[in-house]
């Protein structure tokens, strides 16, 4: 095993996601402490990969890797990790990283931590467990380890640079895959763009049902705001996917983010913690959102919303 830290970067439409830079920055810090190298791993085709401040960048380029394919990307990363044997492999706890991190852990029989928000030089990892209500500090028991890290945990700037990438062919055969990319679908147009709004009234599962959406809409209208939501509301079909804030939704940065019935799971925080003014109303006084919001109230969201509508 080397003392290197591998970062499995991620990209879409030719652009790397912020989390990739965040992880490269953290990898540099850890690799320096261990006397190893921070290695950015780029899997994909048709992307300029000389953008990281890594000690080195490996770019596995093959036409079959043009679009994210969990099977193909997983096999490539597995082969590379087996061959190079880094001390730590970092993924984002994202829609792509989640397809590979735990899978790779089980394939290789190495330790894996998820929901990681910090990593110490002794490899102790802090994980936002149980919807962010508890922090688990865990340490891998020897050998290589895998860390799936929450976006927004480390600064982006530390990972930005221009290290020249070494391009390599795929280390595995990609001609007999069971999984084939078919097409990308863009969100249906016609709805408001929540990322361009200055005020959002954002609702969580506490809203209880579709029949209660009217109250949220009324409050939003009075405030000149638009209604957005956390994932459970969208998964339940109460609002369209275009209104979802968070990891699998959109990142927003409004002047006002008024949260009704949202507990503040790590996936949601990723999408809104840069809002200028965050006000949270939740019945659970221990809801993690109160560690992030600027103002909070332990109260019934319906009573508060109704009273606000009357006052506005």
């Amino acid at each position: 095993m080397s003392n290197d830290v591998f970062v499995i970067t991620e990209h879409m439409d030719g652009k790397f996601s912020d989390v990739s830079f965040e992880l490269v920055g953290k990898a540099k810090e850890l690799a320096k402490a261990w006397g190893g190298q921070a290695v950015a791993v780029v899997v994909g085709s048709g992307i300029a990969s000389n953008v990281f401040a890594s000690d080195s960048t490996i770019h596995i380029d093959d036409a079959a890797l043009s679009h994210f394919n969990p099977e193909a990307y997983g096999k490539v990363v597995e082969a590379l990790v087996k061959e190079r044997s880094p001390r730590l492999v970092m993924f984002g706890w994202t829609v792509t990283g989640m397809d590979m991190a735990a899978w790779l852990s089980a394939r290789l029989g190495v330790a894996c931590a998820a929901y990681v928000k910090n990593i110490g030089a002794d490899l102790t990892m802090s994980c936002a467990a149980y919807g962010g209500k508890l922090t688990a500090e865990v340490a891998p028991e020897g050998g290589m380890a895998i860390a799936a890290c929450l976006a927004g945990s480390f600064p982006v700037e530390a990972g930005q640079g221009s290290t020249a990438a070494v391009t390599m062919a795929s280390p595995v055969d990609l001609n007999s895959l069971k999984m084939k990319f078919v097409e990308a679908t863009k969100p249906a147009g016609g709805d408001v763009d929540i990322t361009s709004q200055t005020k959002l009234v954002s609702i969580g599962r506490g809203i209880g049902g579709k029949e209660n959406m009217e109250l949220a809409e009324e409050l939003a209208q009075k405030l000149g705001a638009v209604v957005s939501a956390s994932r459970p509301v969208v998964d339940a079909g109460w609002l369209p996917r275009t209104r979802q804030v968070g990891k699998s939704g959109l990142k927003v940065k409004p002047k006002l983010y008024l949260m009704l019935g949202i507990s503040g799971a790590p996936e949601h925080l990723e999408g809104m913690q840069s809002a200028e003014l965050i006000i949270a109303v939740n019945t659970d006084k221990k809801a993690p959102i109160f560690n992030v919001a600027h103002y909070g109230a332990t109260a019934d969201l319906f009573e508060v919303a109704e009273a606000m509508v009357e006052l506005l």
Binding site: A102, A106, A114, Y115, A128, K180, D235, S248
Partner: protein, 251 residues
């Protein structure tokens, strides 16, 4: 079409989560079905309704209380249910995934579904690991799965409403983010009926795996900040929020 849904019984995050030693005090918490599992059950039942087949729901019974979740699954349209009798509330995702994979091996599954994640996946999600243990491809974050012959068309969600479609030759494992329709409601009377009539197959845990993690500490997060709390009745809270917004030119 033979679909197996692997579910996870997890401590409820709706309540307080007391800590004992370096982990959750499992004796003091309620266990509930992982919320994403409701979507994976729904996805499986929708496929069965479209092309026929059998849906088997299986989970690790950590505290001897999984039957409720299994009866609910039957009431929603599952055909068979099974539990791995573990009596180990601290069993990590690797351990559960290994037990589930060993149990699923003999079931001839065309597809295995699991919830895309669970709030206690400190060592990763069971779906991805079941796939690794069964040597099947894995795709997570799915929002629709349609089967035609020996392949499925799977929609995977990406941030910002972007989706990608994949064609996958069976068998494979999917981590379900959401079913194409919201999970159906099962009347209490039907769940009760299942509780009285259904057979839950019991399976002894076999196989060993480990997260490879030592738990050093479990505690509420160290807050770097805390919201300034607005006290009072709901009406008073509303008035103070409105006043605050007006003072900042936001109302």
């Amino acid at each position: 079409m033979n679909i197996v849904v692997a579910i996870k019984h997890i401590p409820s995050i709706a309540d307080d989560l007391p800590v004992k030693g370096n982990n959750v005090d499992f004796d003091s918490v309620d266990f509930v079905l992982n919320e994403w599992d409701e979507h994976s059950i729904e996805q499986a039942v929708l496929i069965k309704e479209a092309v026929g087949g059998t849906v088997t729901v299986i989970g690790v019974d950590l505290i001897g209380e999984l039957d409720n979740a299994l009866h609910l699954a039957l009431a929603k349209g599952a055909d068979k249910v099974a539990k791995i009798t573990a009596d180990d509330p601290a069993a990590d995702s690797h351990t559960q995934a290994k037990w589930l994979a060993e149990a699923v091996k003999g079931m001839g599954a065309d597809m295995v579904f699991a919830g895309v994640q669970a709030s206690n996946d400190i060592d990763g999600q069971i779906g991805a690991m079941i796939a690794a243990y069964l040597d099947m491809p894995y795709i997570g974050g799915t929002s629709a799965i349609e089967v035609s012959g020996s392949a499925a068309t799977v929609s995977k969600e990406f941030p910002g409403g972007v989706g990608m479609k994949y064609s996958i030759t069976l068998p494979f494992v999917a981590g379900v983010q959401s079913a194409p329709k919201p999970p159906r409601y099962a009347p209490v009377s039907k769940v009760r009926q299942m509780a009285q009539t259904a057979t839950v197959e019991k399976i002894a845990p076999t196989g060993e795996a480990s997260s490879g993690l030592a738990f050093k500490k479990m505690a509420p997060p160290v807050a770097t900040g805390h919201a300034e709390m607005i006290e009072g009745s709901s009406k008073e809270v509303a008035a103070k929020i409105v006043e605050l917004l007006k003072s900042k030119g936001l109302a």
